[in-house]
Symmetry: C2
Subunit: 409 residues, 2 copies
């Protein structure tokens, strides 16, 4: 991608609307465009990160046997009335009548709809277990949308649902999802914490939260300084009775054992081996995909800009050419990098070096390659690692070998 032809238009000044680091950097770097309070569009750079995060999620979900679907955002109010959640969630649920006088809901979540799908298609224990998931835009009438895509009215979620014949099956799928989540967040470069406590809410069933410690976190987690474990809504550690410290957290994932709450209310029944009709046993598993993007930035930046982990960065390499005369040599190196499977943002603009470096630091691609005046004599280019700011002079061949090694290619 040539920078001069891209839709990357960074802003020098801090946007007035920015409420936190990730919000500021994602707007300054033209990753996001703010449509209105709590409503954002993804510009090309932001969409690249979002797709990288989504593909990491897909990889681990598919590996755990989950199958991807795409449910409608519009849902008839009737399915929500079956579970009574039209009232429970009424505050955040956007609803309206269409011209046929149907009351439609913009799905803030999809337990009801997926239960209808399973009710329609599954009738026997032979068709179980199954896990379905989707990566989809959700809508919530947020009282206080804030921190950019951390808490917004329109956001992207990965929501998964498991369906089992018994509690043992649910336990197996729940564990499969928990370990998929750990693999996903690790691969996204997040230092996350999983709450170990079993919550009494949601009808006494088990749930775990995945959290990233961050200043702007809206969830409070209690950390035991002695055994290092994390709990919610407790003052003393249930394991060693030490006093717990409070830390602010961004919630990025949540897994629940739902049991039969939805399948009973919606009559999603199957005939078991013993010939008896039983409600399907369910679990649900959410990841805030757009929030993961914000959480990555909140925990990976410096005073110059974002520092993307390799796994999700919009490009692998930002290739900065400081001398117009060197564009032919630079282009040939960029092509060679691309042939070797690297995504390169080639900064061939006629801009001062300072502007180019500022943009490279702000955008936060992990490797910055610089070709400048001394290339003619030395045939060396400079490689700067965005995170450590460490610089090395290398030949083209050495650069490619170094990057191949970094990316395990």
């Amino acid at each position: 991608m040539q920078y001069s032809k891209s839709f990357i238009f960074t802003v020098r000044e801090d946007p007035k609307v920015a409420e936190c680091v990730s919000h500021k950097l994602l707007l300054k770097g033209s990753f996001l465009y703010m449509v209105s309070s709590g409503i954002y569009s993804y510009l090309p750079l932001g969409l690249r990160v979002l797709e990288n995060v989504s593909n990491i999620i897909r990889k681990h979900m598919n590996a755990s046997g989950a199958q991807e679907i795409l449910m409608s955002a519009l849902q008839p109010i009737e399915i929500w009335q079956k579970t009574g959640r039209d009232e429970v969630l009424s505050e955040v649920m956007l609803r309206f009548k269409d011209r046929k006088n149907r009351t439609l809901v913009l799905g803030p979540t999809h337990e009801e709809e997926v239960t209808e799908i399973v009710k329609k298609h599954i009738s026997s224990y032979k068709q179980l277990p199954r896990i379905l998931y989707q990566i989809q835009t959700k809508f919530r009438d947020e009282a206080r949308p804030r921190f950019g895509v951390v808490r917004s009215c329109e956001f992207i979620m990965k929501d998964a649902y498991s369906f089992d014949v018994d509690e043992e099956g649910l336990a197996r799928n729940y564990e499969a999802m928990r370990s998929a989540y750990q693999a996903i967040f690790k691969e996204c470069g997040l230092n996350f914490i999983m709450t170990e406590a079993e919550s009494g809410a949601m009808g006494g069933n088990v749930s775990h939260e995945f959290m990233v410690p961050a200043e702007i976190g809206e969830d409070m987690l209690c950390e035991c300084q002695k055994c290092g474990k994390h709990f919610k809504d407790m003052s003393n550690c249930p394991e060693c009775d030490s006093k717990l410290n409070e830390r602010r957290m961004i919630e990025i994932g949540h897994v629940f054992k739902l049991g039969t709450k939805y399948s009973k209310a919606q009559e999603a029944l199957f005939i078991d081996k013993d010939g008896v009709r039983k409600p399907v046993i369910m679990g649900c598993y959410g990841i805030g995909v757009s929030r993961v993007l914000a959480a990555i930035v909140e925990t990976n930046y410096d005073d110059k800009g974002v520092i993307w982990p390799k796994s999700v960065s919009p490009f692998d390499v930002q290739f900065v050419c400081l001398d117009e005369k060197l564009i032919p040599e630079a282009s040939s190196m960029v092509e060679s990098l691309e042939r070797n499977g690297f995504n390169v943002l080639f900064d061939e603009r006629s801009e001062p070096a300072g502007v180019k470096f500022n943009d490279a630091y702000l955008l936060g691609n992990p490797y910055i390659v610089i070709i400048g005046k001394n290339y003619a004599s030395s045939k060396k280019i400079d490689l700067e690692i965005r995170k450590t700011r460490q610089k090395t002079s290398l030949s083209e061949e050495e650069l490619i070998n170094f990057l191949k090694n970094e990316y395990g290619k």
Copy 2:
């Protein structure tokens, strides 16, 4: 993918709600789930086709220099008031107030929002031309949703927008999009027609439609039997004056030269080379992605089911094992096919041969491989081409070579 673990649950009876062939076959084959009239969810098989179509679109859009973004579905009414389209489109526009008393619209299209994005980021001729596109869910309060995903209230569109400094630039981008569209529809296996006429509507600007002839088409196109060209709203051919015949068509794509209608109303201006502020010159280019899926089925089926073109089929091969004792041999062949880059649906269910064949025909994957009793003696498997129903006996090696050749691998 093992069939017994998949979320593929075909239905033997024709669904009562089905209004046309594609609607019927997509429901029977569990490609789609009908949530409510005009509202559909994509089950795993349907999503696979949708992703294949989307990726063909992405390939050709990216090759033409367009950059992918993802705009919000929610939009403030104010941007629509600038162009007056809050009234023009009021019938199909779903709108509501949120709890902050903002009037929000569920975008039926995105000219206004993309113009705001360009207004925010582009101020100089040096930043032009650009093409942005997205593949996104759109919403319309349809008076008569029908024919499944042909005309629905929630649907997936690819919408692209070009931005230029002058009419010549617009003409270049318009041509680039027209030829990308031809490549896209061709690769999707569609026999499409492009209207050659220049329409007087939309403010005198040029527009072309891409149509697929189909019984359920809602658009009427006039065809000249003499010169073979197609026109809209005419009785005689403007080129040879012959009388035109009427044909029903499904519209799958539409390209427009918009000119400055939106950029003037929304003040999306740039400073040109001559130092003068001018409105950006725009074009817009739409493809009904979910409708393409329906159009493919409407024109590729027989009495047994769908016949997917190779480029978009959910799987390349449906591998049918007719004898449980042969599952080890069959599994090894499926793995070998997968190692060679083929997507295989492995039907290892304990179902009668008739059920398996019916499902293979209904689902419509292009190649059906059958391993049966005579494998033990002959070491041969049968290959059936879904479209022609032609059958051949082959060794495993011959099968792989045949498929490699078919897919150009």
